[in-house]
Symmetry: D2
Subunit: 414 residues, 4 copies
Amino acid sequence: MIDNHIHHGNALGFDLRRITWKRVMDMNDRALRDNVIGLGGPGNGMPRESGFDIVVASEIMAILCLATSLADLKERLARIVVGETADRKPITCAQLRAQGAMAALLKDAISPNLVQTLENNPAFVHGGPFANIAHGCNTAIATRAALKLADYVVTEAGFGADLGAEKFIDIKCRKTGLRPSAAVLVATARALKYHGGMAVADVSKEDVAALERGLPNLERHLRNVQEVYGLPCVVAINHRSHDTPAEIDLLTKRVEALGAKAVVARHWAHGGAGAEELAREVVAACATPNRFQFVYEESLPLWQKVEAIATKVYGAAGVTAAPAAKERIERLQAEGYGHFPVCIAKTQMSFSTNAALRGAPSGHTLDIREVRLAAGAEFVVMVCGDIMTMPGLPKVPAAELIDIDAQGRISGLS
Amino acid sequence: MIDNHIHHGNALGFDLRRITWKRVMDMNDRALRDNVIGLGGPGNGMPRESGFDIVVASEIMAILCLATSLADLKERLARIVVGETADRKPITCAQLRAQGAMAALLKDAISPNLVQTLENNPAFVHGGPFANIAHGCNTAIATRAALKLADYVVTEAGFGADLGAEKFIDIKCRKTGLRPSAAVLVATARALKYHGGMAVADVSKEDVAALERGLPNLERHLRNVQEVYGLPCVVAINHRSHDTPAEIDLLTKRVEALGAKAVVARHWAHGGAGAEELAREVVAACATPNRFQFVYEESLPLWQKVEAIATKVYGAAGVTAAPAAKERIERLQAEGYGHFPVCIAKTQMSFSTNAALRGAPSGHTLDIREVRLAAGAEFVVMVCGDIMTMPGLPKVPAAELIDIDAQGRISGLS
Amino acid sequence: MIDNHIHHGNALGFDLRRITWKRVMDMNDRALRDNVIGLGGPGNGMPRESGFDIVVASEIMAILCLATSLADLKERLARIVVGETADRKPITCAQLRAQGAMAALLKDAISPNLVQTLENNPAFVHGGPFANIAHGCNTAIATRAALKLADYVVTEAGFGADLGAEKFIDIKCRKTGLRPSAAVLVATARALKYHGGMAVADVSKEDVAALERGLPNLERHLRNVQEVYGLPCVVAINHRSHDTPAEIDLLTKRVEALGAKAVVARHWAHGGAGAEELAREVVAACATPNRFQFVYEESLPLWQKVEAIATKVYGAAGVTAAPAAKERIERLQAEGYGHFPVCIAKTQMSFSTNAALRGAPSGHTLDIREVRLAAGAEFVVMVCGDIMTMPGLPKVPAAELIDIDAQGRISGLS
Amino acid sequence: MIDNHIHHGNALGFDLRRITWKRVMDMNDRALRDNVIGLGGPGNGMPRESGFDIVVASEIMAILCLATSLADLKERLARIVVGETADRKPITCAQLRAQGAMAALLKDAISPNLVQTLENNPAFVHGGPFANIAHGCNTAIATRAALKLADYVVTEAGFGADLGAEKFIDIKCRKTGLRPSAAVLVATARALKYHGGMAVADVSKEDVAALERGLPNLERHLRNVQEVYGLPCVVAINHRSHDTPAEIDLLTKRVEALGAKAVVARHWAHGGAGAEELAREVVAACATPNRFQFVYEESLPLWQKVEAIATKVYGAAGVTAAPAAKERIERLQAEGYGHFPVCIAKTQMSFSTNAALRGAPSGHTLDIREVRLAAGAEFVVMVCGDIMTMPGLPKVPAAELIDIDAQGRISGLS
C-alpha cells in the first residue's frame, strides 16, 4: 500500500529515502535483505531502496503479541509509523487507511490456539517475535487465557535471561500488568562448557574445568533474575545424555551457593515425570516473597533506559551510539516517545554485542548501531551489533535433500 | 536456491544477467516487477536484476496443470531452465537439486479438489495458469478424474477462444491425448456491443446497431472453432438482465446463419434450470461428427507455429519479432525445442496485440517482443505486446475500504 | 543540476522516472550505460534509473554544431527538454536556470578551430555529433566561416550517404540555409566487396565477382544523391594499395553507366597531388545544374517524414514502431514539434536497421524502437534498431599495451 | 578496466562485492556517491554496487604527491589494490596491466608547475590530496625541486595542524626523508573566536572573551608542534581588517607565554612587505635547535599508530572501531601492511570526530568507521566519522547565477 500510494501521486508526501517499513516473506533469502525496487519505468512505481524481513521480525508480530483485544490490535496497527515526509513528519498506517484490512487479516491469528503435548497437557503456542530483534514473548492474550484456565502458568521468554526475561519484564509485564510469581532459569552443562571456552564440536565431552570456567555466565543470569528483576528463581538443569555426574554435581552446588534451588530436569527423556521435581520446586518458589521490579522506570529518558539495561543486566561499562543513532534517539525523545520501553536487539551468544565474548564479560561497551521506532508495539528498538532480520540458507540447503517418490512418500526431512 | 547457490560460490556458473527464473508472490505489487537484489555487501548474495511475478504466471503453475502424475510433475520440475551460464548453456532445476523439494511442496496441490455448486453438483476447481501468459486451462489430472466420474465433462479454457481454446487444443489436448467432443462458445450482448464500438460504461444500454457492428468478433471465434479447430460448436448466450429481445434475436439469428446453434443461458438467474436447454444442445452437439485438428503440427518450426496461429486464428497478416526475440527463437529451434507447442501471451481484449483494436481486425502484425522457454511445461511462450505478470493496485485499493469492528465483523469486502 | 534540484525539494516537480537527460563521460564504459543512482540514504539525492552517454551522443554536441551564434547557442540550450512532470509537462534547461552556465562553458568551444594538413592547407575540424545517433555534420559556424574564406568548401557528412548526407540536407541545410553545389560520394572496392558478401578478413583480396555483387549498394547511394537529393555527384574511388585494375575498372564503368563521373583518388599515397583530378571534377560538377531538394517538407507530420526517408532513401517497404514509440510520436506531433526534422538513428552497416543485411536490401521495415526529443537541436531522434550511445572496451583494451619508461618514453600507442 | 575485465570473463576472479576502487569525476554530484552500475542486460557489464569520488579523494592523487620519480609513480600505481577475490586475495592494478597507461596519462602531471605571485616570486602549485581524506601535502617532487632552487622553502600542509602537519611529518617526511627546520602555525582571531563559541555569522565582531575561550585550540596546536613534532614554531596571525588591537594583543601575549613567537602577518593587505617580519622570524626559527620526531614509529602496529595520534595529537581518551573496521585492521596487519603509516580521515572542524566539539576537547573517543588500504600511496586510511569524498551542490548552485551575453562576456562568477 505504501508503494501504491506513492505511485498514484504520493499525496502523503513520503520521502522515498525515509520509508522504514519493509516487506516480509518467510524465506531464508539473503538476496532480498537489501534491494532497489520500483525499477523498469513509469508503470512500475518509484525507484527506492528497500528490503525484506522475515515475518517474526515485523512489528506486526510484536503488536499481535502485545495486543489485548481486537480493538487494541487495530489501534496499534493504526499507529505504526511506516515512513517520514521530507520535513521529517511521521506517516502512519492510519494515514494509509491500512489498519482495517490489516486487522481483518489478523482476525483469526489473534485467537490463541490451544495445542497439546504428547501426554495430552494443554499448551498455547501463539505468537513468535524473535527475542534478538523484538521482545521474544508469546501473546498477552494467550498468557491471560492460560491464567484463566490453570493454577500455574509457565511461559517462555526467548533466548538468554538477558534478552527474553528482561523484555518479558520491561515490555510485556509493564504493558499488560502481568506479574510473574517466580522465574525458571534453564541451564545446560554443554552451554556452560561452551561459555568456559570449549569448541561447539566438543561440548558433549566431560570437562569439569571448562564447566567451572563457564559458570560465571549462569551466575550472572541468576543474579540478574534474583536481584535486578527481584524474582524467586529455580534453575532447571536441562539434562542431556552426555552430562556426567561430576558436571551435574558442580552445577548444582554452585547454584545453591547462590541461594537458589537447582533441579535436574529429565522431561526430554521421561516426559512429564522427568519434570515433576522441577514443577514442585517452581510451585514452592511461587510461594516465596517476591520483590518484582522493572529494570528501569518508564519516566527515564530512552538513553538512560538503555544504560540501565547495559550496566545492570549486561555488565557493560557504558553505552555509545553512531551519530545518526544518537540523533534519532534524541529526536524520538523530543517527539514524545521517551516513555516507551526500549527493546534491545543484540546477539544471544554473549552478554555483550560481540558473539565471541563468552562467559560474563565486563567493561564492554554497548554500541547502538541503529534505532527503530515501533510506535504500534510501543517500544523503541535499539539495534546493537549485527542483527540479521532475514536469514540465509547454508551452502547445502535442506531442500537439496528433500525428495518425494511416485507414491508420495517424502524423504529428507531431517 | 538460485541466489543461495550463487552466494556460496556459483559452482554451476550462472551468468547473473541470464537468470530467467523469478520469485513469485501473490500480491498486486507493481514495485516488485523489476528490482535489483543482493545489495548491501558481501553477506547479502550477489547484486543482480530480477523481479517478482504472481503465482499464476509461474511456469510451476503451468506444469502443475499439465502433469499427469506426481512422477511426471517431478520430472517436469527438474527440467525447468532457470538460467544460463556465460557460454549460454542452460541450467536446470535438476542441477540445483531442487525438484524433490518442489514436488514435495506440491504433493497435496496436485490432487484435484472437488467442490460443489449451490445445487450440489460436483465440480473440480484445480489449477490456474492465466490464459494471457500461460495456457489457461485447469489441470489435466482433474479433467481426467472428471472423465472417470461423469458421462459429460465440461471444462473451461480461459479468455477468448483465440487464447484459451487454441491453447486447450494445441497444448493441453496435444500433450495429454484428450479430445473434446464439442465446444461451447460463450457470448454476451454487452461484450459484442463493446466490440461494436460502445464505451464500457454504456454497454448495458440497448444498441442493436452496435451489436451488429460487433458481431464479426463472435463470427470469427465461431468460424475458428468450427473450421480451424474442427469442432461442433454451440453458442451460449450468457443472458444479462439488461439484454433486450431485439439484441437476443439478432444474436441468435446471426449465429444460426453460420450453421451453429445459439442458446440463451440463464443459469445466473435460474441456476441449473437456466442452463438445461444449453446442456441438451451440447449433448446433441457431442453426437455430431467431429473433425478435431490442431492449428499446427508438432513438427513445424517454432516460427511457423506462431505464423499458423497468427494467420489462421487471429486474422493477422504476418509475424514479426524484435531481433533478440528472433535470435532466441532460432537458438531454441537449434537447441532441440522446435517440437514444443508455442504459447502466445497476448491481450485478451483483441484478436490483435493492440487492446484497442476491437471487432475482427485483419492485416495486423503479430509482433513477438520476448521469448521464454518453459522446458518443464513443454512449451515456448511468445510474449506479444505488453503483458503484465505482476498486477498493480488501483489508486484507492480495496484494502482501504476493508474494516473490522471490535466484535470481529468484517466490512468492506465488496 | 537536475539531481541537485530534486534533492533540494524538486520544486519543478520532476517525475523521477521521466528524466531523459543523461550524464556524459568520454570513456568506453559499458557498465555506466544503465545504472541506479542516488542510493545510500537521504543525503545522496533521490534513487532513480539513469545512465551515461559519450559526449558525441549528447544533444549539446548537436546544438553546438547547429547554433549560428553564441546567442543562438544559449537559446537552444535553454530549450533542451530534460524531463517531465508527473502530468507529462516538459521541463527545460531554462527552468533549471542552467543555460547561462552551459553557454559560458562552451564560450570557446563554439569558435571554429583552424588546423592545417601536412601540406599546409587550412581546414576546420569543429564539432562531432555521431551520424548514427545525431546528425553527423561539423558546425554550421565552421562551414560558414569557410565559405567566407575559400572559393570551394568541402565538408564531410558522416557514415553512408543514407545517414550523413540525408541529415546534412534535411537538418543542417534546412536549418542554416546552406545549399551544396555538388556531392562527392566516397567509395572503396573493399567496402563494396564486403557488401557483395565477402568476409571482412578477406576484402583485401581481388574478387571482381564480389565487387559486382556489392555494386547495388553504391548504385543506390548514387541514385539517392542524384535523384532524391537532386545534386550533381562525383564518385571518389578511395584507392587502396590492394585494389586491382580489374576492380577499379569495373567500378569506374558502372558508375559512369549511371551518368556520374568516377575518379580514382590517391591522396592517401600521394597527398594533394593524388586528389587533383578529383578536385577538378568536383569543380566541374559544381558548375552543372542543381536540383537540390529536401527528402521531405517541413510541414509533413513526423511519421510521414520517417516514411519518406525510409521508402525513398533506405528502400524500405514501410515503417513500424513499438507502441510506446508510436504514442510518443503522436504526443510530440500534438505538442507542436511536428515541424521538426527527424534524425534517424540507425546502423551505418546497412540501408536497413539490420547490420547483417548488406548490398541494397528492399522490402524491409524500419522499426522505431524509441523516440527522443531534441528540442534544443530542433529535431526528433527516431532510434531504429540497437544503437549504442556508450561504447565498451574490447577484451584486451589498448590501455593494457600502453607503457612508459623511466625516461618518459611512451610505447604501445598503436 | 575493472568492469571491462569482469565483463569479458573475470579471469582474475574479482568478487563483485569487494571491489574498492571507485570512478572519479570532478563534479559536486551527490547522486553519484552510491550507485548500482552494469544494469540493463548481458551487454552492459555485471551489476554491482559502486560509486564516484572527486579526483582529490583518489589514491592516485596521493600517489602522485608521494612519488619520487616517474618510475616510482608507475611502481606505486601497479601496487594499488582495487579489489579482492572471493577468497579475499587482493587484486592489483598490475594484474589488470593498467599501470603503464595510467603512468603515461600522468607523464606531464608529475612535472611540477612553476607559477608566480603578483610580485613575481616563484611558487610551485602541484598536487592536491585533501587533508581530511588523504595526506594533504603537495608533491614530494615539487618540494625537492624547490629545495634545489631556494635557500628557504615554505610548504603548506592542509587544514589544522592536527591533520596536515601530522600527515606531513608521519607520511611525507617519513617516506621522502625530508626534514623541516621549523613550523609556521597560521592563526586567525575569527577562527579562535569561533572555537570560543561564537556563531560563524558573528566572528567579525570584537569579542575578547570569546577569543580567550577559543585560545586553548591554538595552544594545543602549538604544543603539538613544539612537543609532539619537536619543531621550532612561529605563529603567524593572519590579520583581517576586522581584528581589533585588543584581540591581537591577547593573541600575541598568550602565544609568547607558551614560548613561541607570534607575528602579525599582513600580506593579504600589503603583499610581500606585510610578511617580511614573519619571514625574518621564520629564518630565525630555522636556526634554533630542532628535535624533529614522528608521532609514532613505523614498527608500531596499525592500531597503536592510531592510538598514538589520537591520544598525543587529538587529546582523545582512546580509539574504538566498528567490528568490520577492527577486523580489517587485523587482517591488514597480518597481511604485511603493518609498517605503513596511517592516514586519519576526519573533520577539520574539531580535534575530535565531532565537528561540533570546538576548542580543545579531551576525553573523546576516536571511532574508526571504515578502513581503506592505499597500497600504492603506502598508507592505511582510517575513516573516522562522516567524511564526504564526493561533495554536493547547495540549493542554489553557482551555475544558476553564471551567464554569458551575446558578446561573450561572462557574469556571475563570484
